[in-house]
């Protein structure tokens, strides 16, 4: 069974940690590797490409990693982080344009169920679908 890892990149460490807590609450039994790279080292708001690359490496068990980010500059840092990773790890990483919180929740649930990386990434991308279906219908 694949073990896809997840990384939450946010400018805010409390935000990232609360999102992970909420997502993990959706799990019963199986757990998932979810790493956080968020905030500056002095506790402020920001991202750190080195911290992201370390989080990706920690989340990776060989079956791939899906990275969720909050803002545009978090995406820039995550892309920079990819350059800092070994080639084989980098090739397994997918940066998701999905919504941070909603995407994480769906991704965590399907990753815990043993979905492969592309399936986990697809679930992250369609994170808004339940809300859209309900409110748009």
């Amino acid at each position: 069974m694949p073990r896809v890892g997840l990384v939450v990149v946010s400018h805010s460490r409390p935000l990232a940690e609360a999102a992970v807590t909420l997502a993990r609450q959706m799990l019963t039994g199986a757990d998932v590797a979810v790493e956080v790279a968020a905030g500056t080292d002095d506790g402020g708001l920001g991202t750190d490409a080195f911290a992201i690359s370390e989080a990706i490496a920690a989340a990776d068990s060989g079956d791939g990693v899906v990275v969720l980010m909050d803002l545009g500059s978090a995406v820039l840092s995550a892309e920079t982080a990819l350059e800092l990773l070994a080639d084989d790890v980098r090739d397994r990483v997918l940066l998701s344009a999905g919504p941070l919180v909603e995407g994480l929740i769906g991704a965590v649930v399907v990753a815990a169920g043993g979905a492969d990386r592309d399936r986990v990434a697809a679930e992250a991308l369609r994170g808004l679908a339940p809300k859209q279906a309900h409110l748009g219908g």
């Binding site: 080292d41 991202t47 750190d48 490409a49 080195f50 500059s73 892309e79 920079t80 350059e83």
Partner: protein, 214 residues
Amino acid sequence: MAQELGIPEFEGWIRAFAAAVAEHRDELTTLDSAIGDADHGTNMDRGMAAVVAALDGGPPADGAALFKLVGATLVSKVGGASGPLYGTFFLRLAGAGGSGPWDAGTVAKALRAGVEGVVARGKAEPGDKTMLDALLPACDALEAALAAGQPLADALGAAATAAVEGRDATKPLQARKGRASYLGERSIGHVDPGATSAALLVEAAATALVPAQG
């Protein structure tokens, strides 16, 4: 060897840029408060102060190592978009410049590679009201001056002039990247803070990347 640059000049450039950022910190923040989240001056100053602290620990082995250290520090210490953008600039500069001493052609090649790194990282285009609006004209001016046979010092002077003009030309532009893009037309009429710090970078190069008189 009189036309070659090494660690002393590279370090001089970086320290001159750090000093300029510190001097203009409040100005950068004021510019950023008009169209951004008012942290560009603080972020860049924190990052460059960390770079200077790292350099104070002793000079790196060569130019590539020095610029890699600068890029890595900025990537890690500057929280906003400027961290990955300036960080990528210096990492690519390090890669393209290599570890040997640099001549004028190496400077032009390395600067171009750094700027292309910024393009690839930020996916901004000329006229988007970003640091590229200072950096791209600077590269073009540098290459044109060298191609015309000017010495490096003059060519870097032309690059600095082009960067300052590019910076000033961001004022009437509408921002299309980052937080400022939410403002739409209200971003018009303010000079871009990223272009402003980028002009400081090129001006510092014109001051410091001067080959020692042999």
